[in-house]
Symmetry: C2
Subunit: 191 residues, 2 copies
DNA sequence: GTCACATTGTACCATTCGGTCCACACGCGC
DNA sequence: GCGCGTGTGGACCGAATGGTACAATGTGAC
């Protein structure tokens, strides 16, 4: 076990905090060490391949968190509207209302895209798939559901970028509100 | 003048190429030097305050490019539909159909957000304002225009992130098509 | 108690980082 | 031809980078 009072998952959580606000290139070993309270030797004991290994672990943990808190609830049985609203609420909490940057976006940008491509692709695909399932269950046609699901994920990522740039969390919360209102709307015309 | 065969603007263009695909933290002086063909001493001759100065110049150049190619056309007289389509086409070209990452997003993420906050904020604000003007001219109410404009910018940024993550430019081109079709649609219900 | 192994602090490594210095070129007005 | 200011190559800087080696701990199982 890690430093006796810190589980490995907690260590990875702290690594995630650094990665999500410094990115791959901006997160130095010194800072990762400080954030976890572990010396470099301990860090390399748990992550023998170094920084790339640590960030891979962050991405894996994020994936399981998303799966448990977002993807599976979306695919579960129950009111589609409730499922969508659960996703929105989880996302809102996770990004602290738009105050926190996105781990995924941070790893897509910079020099790290190629390193984590397969994991990044898989996470986004699973997210879109799961959301589409909920929409189909809510009476949206399969084709429209896919388009809307992709659009929703795009809008969430975009809102985090723009909210970060303009230092205005309202951009993010407006978007979440819009999504929970529109995602299950009848085919209408737009979309 | 720079190396006689390269204007200062061309130098900044090459800096932009590096920044947009490596980010602030990932762009090393060595690479910026290689990309421009200028030695470090020359780089520091034109940008006395170093890397931050270079990237500030990149951001300034991007701002004037956007102003000339996107913002002003959006505010100009003429068919609103044509103006919106001009924006979409310019953006499509600039990001090479989704193949290139966004300079802005790259500077919002990583450790560089705080350094360029005012410029980033201004660019996004001007973009949203200009787009809203075109929408109002197209008969959209002022309030709805603002929301839609912000939403469009958010979607463009988000589409670039998701397209980059999934290595799938179709995400981006689908979004651009959707935008040129929907931005000027009648109030309808959604949106 | 002792043996094995997980864990850790310390010292160290080469390389690269962003950045500076300076002497020398080059052109151009005079 | 002479100065002068813009540009530039190359050597150099201390600090930080990601990463390693290893000896010393601690902690359990037996």
């Amino acid at each position: 076990m890690p430093p006796a009072q810190l589980s490995l998952e907690e260590v990875v959580d702290r690594l995630m905090l650094v990665v999500r606000q410094r990115g791959y290139d901006g997160a130095s070993l010194a800072e990762l060490s400080r954030a976890t309270g572990l010396g470099k030797s301990s860090l390399y004991h748990y992550f023998p391949e170094g920084k790339e290994d640590m960030v891979r672990a962050v991405l894996e943990r994020l994936e399981t968190q998303l799966r448990a808190g977002v993807f599976e609830p979306l695919r579960a049985s129950g009111s589609p509207r409730k499922r969508v609203e659960a996703m929105v609420k989880t996302i809102d909490t996770f990004y602290r209302g738009g105050r926190e940057a996105c781990v995924l976006a941070n790893l897509v940008l910079g020099t790290s895209r190629s390193r984590f491509r397969t994991q990044l692709t898989r996470i986004f695909e699973e997210w879109i798939d799961a959301l589409a399932v909920a929409l189909v269950d809510g009476g949206v046609s399969r084709a429209v559901a896919r388009i809307r699901a992709e659009d929703a994920v795009v809008r969430i990522e975009g809102a985090l970028v723009v909210a970060g740039a303009m230092d205005d969390t309202a951009v993010f919360s407006r978007m979440l509100k819009l999504l929970s209102a529109d995602l299950l709307a009848p085919p209408a015309r737009a979309h």
